[in-house]
C-alpha cells in the first residue's frame, strides 16, 4: 500500500505512526486524513467543544522556533481531543543552556508523554526526533527548516476540497518565495498526490529553487499569465530577511510585480479562491482588498487547521494503541 521507503511514518499495518512530510504518503492516506478532519470539523461549533478521544494522553508542543498560529492551533486541537498539553519553547528551555536535542527528548520521554509536535529551524529535525524517540511516542512535524510543513499543506488541501470539491479539474498557482518555503514544498507534494490537474509556481527567478519542475509543476515568472484560468491561488509569505540576501530589490518592487491585487486576479477563474498560510504581509505579497475580499478563504484556513491537526493527532496516537494489541 505505501512505498516501502516510508517505514518511519507508516507502521507495519499501513497506519500513520508519525506525520513528518507529505512525501512518501499515498493518495489513500491523504484522503483518509481529510475525511477524518471532516468529522472533527463540527466539534468547534457544539456546546462542549471537546471529544474524549485522547483523554489521559499527554502531547508536547516542542517549539525550537517561534510560532503563534501553528502552536496555538496544535494546542487547541489537542485540547479539543481532551489531551493534556505541555508547551515548551526553546527560548525558555534547557536547550539554551546547552542541553542536546537527544537529552531533551529523553527527559520528556521520562515524563511519559505520548506525542511531540516539533518545530525547528533545521530541516530534518522532526525526522531525527522520530527516529530516536521511544516506540510509544508519535512525532508530528510542525515545520522544519525549508523542508516540510505537512499539517499546513493538509489544512490547505482541506480548504480546497471544501471550497472546490474534486481536485482532478483544478488549476492551482502557488505564488511567491517557493525557494525558502517549507509550506510550498509540502503543498506541491500534496496537490500532485491528490491529482490536481495543474500546479504552477509563480515567482521571480531568484525565488524558484532549481529543478522544481521535477516535482510536477510548471514555472511562471509573470504574475498575470501565471494566474490565468486558475481555480486556486495560494500566496506565500515573503520573509523580510530575503530582502537582505540580495534576492530582491525591495518589498515595494516585489509588490509591484508579484503582489496580488484585485486587478491582477482578473485573469484567474471568476470563482477562484485566494489562500495564504499567514501571517500576512499586506502590501507586499497581498493587497488588503484581496486579503479581506470575497474570494479570500484565509480565515477559514485557520479554523480548518484545527480539524486537520485533530485528525493527524488521533490517527497517529491511535496507531500505537492498535500496534500494542497486535491488531490488524
Amino acid at each position: 500500500m505505501q512505498s516501502p521507503g516510508d517505514t518511519l511514518q507508516i507502521d507495519a499495518h499501513g497506519r500513520l505512526k508519525h506525520f513528518l512530510s507529505i512525501e512518501g504518503l499515498n493518495r489513500e492516506l491523504l484522503v483518509n486524513i481529510l475525511d477524518t478532519a471532516e468529522s472533527f470539523a463540527g466539534v468547534g461549533e457544539r456546546a462542549v467543544k471537546k471529544v474524549p478521544l485522547l483523554r489521559g494522553k499527554t502531547i508536547v508542543n516542542l517549539f525550537f522556533e517561534p510560532s503563534t498560529r501553528t502552536r496555538t492551533t496544535f494546542e487547541l486541537a489537542a485540547k479539543r481531543l481532551s489531551a493534556d498539553v505541555l508547551n515548551i519553547s526553546a527560548t525558555t528551555s534547557s536547550t539554551t543552556k546547552g542541553e542536546s536535542l537527544l537529552d531533551t527528548l529523553r527527559t520528556l520521554e521520562a515524563m511519559h508523554c505520548d506525542m511531540f509536535i516539533v518545530r525547528h529551524a533545521e530541516s530534518g529535525a522532526a525526522h531525527f526526533i522520530a527516529r530516536h524517540a521511544a516506540p510509544h511516542i508519535s512525532v508530528i512535524n510542525g515545520g522544519d527548516g525549508r523542508h516540510a510543513h505537512p499539517t499546513q499543506a493538509m489544512l490547505d488541501m482541506f480548504t480546497i476540497r471544501r471550497q472546490k470539491g474534486d481536485f482532478s479539474s483544478l488549476k492551482v498557482a502557488i505564488v511567491g518565495d517557493v525557494a525558502h518555503s517549507r509550506v510550498a514544498r509540502s503543498q506541491i507534494h500534496a496537490l500532485v498526490t491528490l491529482g490536481a490537474a495543474e500546479v504552477r509556481i509563480v515567482a521571480p527567478r531568484t525565488l524558484v529553487p532549481p529543478g522544481i519542475q521535477s516535482m510536477g509543476v510548471s514555472v511562471h515568472h509573470d504574475l498575470r499569465s501565471g494566474l490565468r484560468d486558475t481555480d486556486v491561488v495560494i500566496l506565500l509569505r515573503l520573509q523580510n530577511e530575503r530582502m537582505q540576501g540580495a534576492l530582491l530589490p525591495s518589498s515595494h518592487e516585489y509588490f509591484q510585480y508579484y503582489g496580488v491585487t484585485e486587478e491582477k486576479l482578473a485573469t484567474a477563474a471568476s470563482d477562484a479562491i485566494v489562500m495564504h498560510p499567514g501571517p500576512l504581509n499586506r502590501g507586499v505579497e497581498i493587497d488588503s482588498d484581496v486579503a479581506d475580499g470575497a474570494r479570500s478563504v484565509i480565515l477559514r484556513q485557520v479554523s480548518y487547521g484545527i480539524a486537520i491537526r485533530m485528525a493527524v493527532m488521533s490517527m497517529a496516537i491511535g496507531s500505537h494503541a492498535a500496534a500494542d494489541r497486535g491488531d490488524d
Partner: protein, 167 residues
C-alpha cells in the same frame, strides 16, 4: 437463518412501544436521534411512522468509544449531525442493545451538545449480554443469545436481521 419476526413488524412494535412510553411520561415534541449506522436506518423508519416534525439527528459515536486505546481510530464515514438538545425530550434509537457500551458513548456525546430534558432509549432488538447497567425504554423484540451469537442489521433497503455465530 431466522426465527426472527418480519422486520416491519418489529419496527411497528417498537414504534407502538415508544409512543406509549412517551405518552405515559408526557414527553411531547420529541427529538429523534439515530446511532450510526444501523440505528439511523431504524430511526428513519420510526421518524416517518411517528410523524416527528423535527429533522432526524444522527450520532457517530466513534470519538466516544471506550476502546480507542485498544483498537485505535475507526475510519469515519459520516460525522454526527445534531442540533441543540437543550431542554428537549431526546429519543435515542439503536438497532441492537448488547453490551450497553454504544449507548453509554452515545449518551456522553448527546450531553456534549447540551442538557436534554430527558432521554428515551428505543432499540429494535434487545439481546442478552449487558456489561454495564443500561436498559431500553422501548424495544421491538427481546432475544436470549449466547456470547458467541451476534445479531446484525443490514440495510438500508431492505432492512434485514441476521444472527451469526462467532467463536
Amino acid at each position: 437463518m431466522s426465527g426472527l419476526p418480519d422486520i416491519d413488524t418489529l419496527i411497528g412494535t417498537l414504534a407502538g412501544a415508544l409512543e406509549k412510553h412517551l405518552a405515559h411520561h408526557a414527553r411531547e415534541a420529541p427529538l429523534m436521534v439515530g446511532v450510526h449506522t444501523g440505528g439511523v436506518w431504524v430511526a428513519r423508519k420510526l421518524h416517518t411512522l411517528l410523524a416527528i416534525e423535527e429533522p432526524l439527528g444522527t450520532l457517530n459515536i466513534n470519538f466516544y468509544r471506550d476502546d480507542f486505546t485498544r483498537i485505535g481510530m475507526h475510519p469515519m464515514v459520516t460525522p454526527s449531525d445534531l442540533f441543540s438538545v437543550d431542554d428537549r425530550h431526546v429519543v435515542l434509537i439503536d438497532d441492537v442493545l448488547h453490551t450497553g457500551r454504544t449507548v453509554r458513548a452515545a449518551l456522553n456525546e448527546i450531553f456534549d451538545y447540551g442538557r436534554p430534558a430527558s432521554v428515551t432509549l428505543g432499540v429494535l432488538v434487545e439481546r442478552s449480554g449487558r456489561e454495564i447497567p443500561i436498559q431500553a425504554d422501548a424495544i421491538g423484540q427481546h432475544l436470549s443469545l449466547t456470547e458467541h451469537e451476534y445479531v446484525k442489521l443490514s440495510g438500508p433497503e431492505p432492512l434485514a436481521l441476521e444472527i451469526t455465530h462467532k467463536t
